[in-house]
């Protein structure tokens, strides 16, 4: 269900916790599974549950509680932009508008070509770098004024064109 590499990474996470507390690795296991699969389908979560010896429902609860898990398929690139007040004071409102206008979709929607999903985020603890955009949960892009947003979108499209994974 998951690759040997993913399982090895999950095992490293499990080793961080007392032997009778494997469940503590569920957040990282789900993140690793999501990185590999793109999103968390029920069978993926069931697999993680079995792997950690947890009831499936306990895994679903975690996956739905935390914002960064994709419990539905998303575009190839999920772009999350913080619009909270400190960022808004530093240009995030304009940047958010530019991002949505450029892609022709609102926060919470995906582009028709399945490339981009936009999400409105809350404080990422990076307000000094505002506006900030998080690409697929892992890559934080700082000072994302409209021209830099254009650059990022072009870069992501080009990366896909050349077959590279982000």
């Amino acid at each position: 269900m998951l690759s040997a590499d993913a399982l090895a990474r999950i095992d490293r996470e499990i080793a961080k916790y007392p032997v009778d507390q494997k469940q503590s690795a569920v957040m990282s296991a789900l993140a690793i599974a999501q990185d590999e699969k793109g999103w968390l389908a029920t069978e993926t979560m069931d697999f993680v549950a079995a792997y950690l010896g947890m009831p499936p429902i306990a895994v679903y609860e975690v996956a739905t509680f935390y914002e960064m898990y994709n419990t539905e398929p998303t575009g190839r690139f999920k772009l999350t932009m913080c619009t909270n007040l400190p960022c808004a004071l530093q240009g995030a409102t304009e940047a958010a508008k530019h991002l949505q206008d450029t892609l022709g979709v609102h926060f919470g929607e995906s582009t028709a070509d399945g490339l981009f999903t936009l999400k409105e985020g809350e404080c990422m603890g990076a307000c000094g770098d505002a506006p900030v955009v998080l690409v697929n949960n892992k890559r934080m892009c700082s000072w994302m004024r409209p021209d830099k947003i254009d650059g990022l979108l072009a870069e992501l499209r080009a990366a896909l064109g050349s077959g590279a994974r982000s």
Binding site: K16, Y69, P86, L89, Q90, T93, C123, M124
Partner: protein, 434 residues
């Protein structure tokens, strides 16, 4: 990932963030700056745990995560005689809007956190610890993993540390997007692999914490202050600040300033000095308002801020709280209704829903502020907001309820006429808005 050079100038008074250029985060670099001397000193001189705690008490160090609780006192709550496992946890789930200091500590000076945690673990008899890192700062989490690797390899962590016979294991754990996990008991639930729902207190973590064992939780910056205290003495730390407000504090300055960023200054530094360090108001505009301690704290008008010093007691006297040290600066073009609307939405979004006053109240606050902002406000709405806030505060399991209520009351208290204008004229008082 390194920020431009000017962002690494944390100010001349820095003791945590001193000598950093964005690249010198490795163990070797840290040791060259005198790093791990404090841990070595404790282990070599066989300083007793009680002596370490006494030094921290003397320093006047107060928690940097939000509540400002005296750290030495908190450490002394851990049952010294307890025979089983005891845990230490670092709260690096920095998500309070406006706060971005712990990220800089971890990515630019991660070993100071490791050393601080090792000393704390020694003082409280903990063998295992976790550093819970905010999910959105993935590269910082990876930096912490690298730094841990280095520390284990160098014998600063693990079994028989530096040949002392003392063992201590530290691990990083990442969150995945839930503000509420910054609340310490929600964080413990999350570490246990569950939804981050705050626990009823008592019992407090010192008696029933992670996996039901005695646990102490401190903020990243709190731990980062510890090595300096051991090296220089509690009294020297206290003297950097003011009585009851010892040491330096990293302030995350955001909003309408020329140079948003982190600045580490002695507690008691005038707000005006901090504002100047951040380059002053952007575009030479006027200061209208400031939230001095993160979005959960009361907003203060500019005039009051300009007369306030940045320490726990002075800010409390001025009517707000130092909180996490997130200083959100707003200029004269900012609409207070719109600003509050965004914050109210945040608390509504992030309420975990366990307590009725918080779950229902945060939604109610948001909807009422929303209708005022959009020209549908009613005359009784301002009193309604205050009464809903009063009915949340103090009636909930965790402090998120208060965090949602405090801003509302303070925005209305200080900027009532602006809210009234929205209600009366269905439009905004200020020309441009957020």
């Amino acid at each position: 990932m390194n920020a431009p050079a000017e962002f690494l100038d944390y100010g001349p008074e820095a003791i945590i963030m001193t000598g950093l250029n964005g690249r010198n985060w490795r163990l070797d670099d840290y040791v060259r700056r005198g790093g791990y001397d404090a841990l070595k000193k404790i282990l070599a001189s066989k300083m007793s745990p009680a002596e370490v705690i006494a030094e921290i008490k003397k320093s006047g160090l107060r928690g940097r995560g939000g509540a400002g609780f005296p750290t030495g006192l908190k450490w002394s709550f851990m049952p010294q005689q307890f025979q089983g496992e005891k845990y230490l946890v670092c709260n690096s789930d920095e998500g309070e809007p406006g706060t971005f200091k712990d990220r800089d500590i971890m990515r630019y000076n991660p070993h100071i956190l490791i050393e601080g945690m090792a000393i704390a673990a020694y003082a409280m008899g903990c063998k295992r610890a976790y550093n819970y890192v905010h999910g959105e700062i993935w590269d910082t989490y990876e930096r912490c993993e690298h730094a841990l690797d280095e520390a284990y390899k160098a014998g600063m962590l693990g079994d028989n540390i530096l040949g002392s016979g003392w063992s201590f294991h530290l691990y990083n754990h990442h969150g995945y997007g839930a503000y509420i996990c910054g609340e310490e008991t929600a964080l413990l639930e999350s570490l246990e692999g569950k939804k981050g729902l705050p626990r009823f207190k008592p019992p407090f973590p010192a008696s029933y914490g992670l996996y039901g064992k005695p646990t102490t939780i401190n903020n990243t910056e709190t731990f980062a202050a510890v090595p300096w205290i051991i090296n220089n003495g509690g009294e020297a730390f206290l003297n950097l600040g003011r009585p009851n407000n010892g040491g330096t504090k990293i302030f995350s300055v955001s909003g309408d300033v020329a140079r948003p960023g982190n600045y580490e200054v002695r507690l008691g530094t005038p707000f005006a000095t901090l504002l100047e360090m951040a380059g002053g108001m952007r575009d030479g505009r006027t200061l209208k308002a400031c939230i001095p301690g993160g979005s959960s704290m009361p907003v203060l008008p500019g005039e009051i801020m300009m007369a306030t010093d940045m320490d726990y007691d002075s800010i409390a006297k001025a009517g707000s709280m130092l909180g996490s040290g997130a200083v959100i600066v707003m200029n004269d073009t900012r609409c207070m209704v719109r600003s509050l609307l965004r914050l109210s939405y945040f608390y509504f979004e992030e309420s975990c829903g366990q307590c009725t006053p918080c779950r229902e109240g945060t939604g109610w606050l948001w909807r009422v502020v929303d209708r005022i902002e959009h020209g549908q406000g009613r005359n009784e709405d301002l009193d309604l907001l205050v009464s809903v806030s009063d009915n949340i505060a103090g009636r909930t399991i965790c402090a998120l309820g208060d965090a949602a209520a405090l801003p509302v009351k303070s925005f209305i208290k200080h900027f009532r006429s602006e809210f009234q204008h929205h209600i009366d004229h269905k439009q905004c008082l200020v020309p441009a808005y957020v």
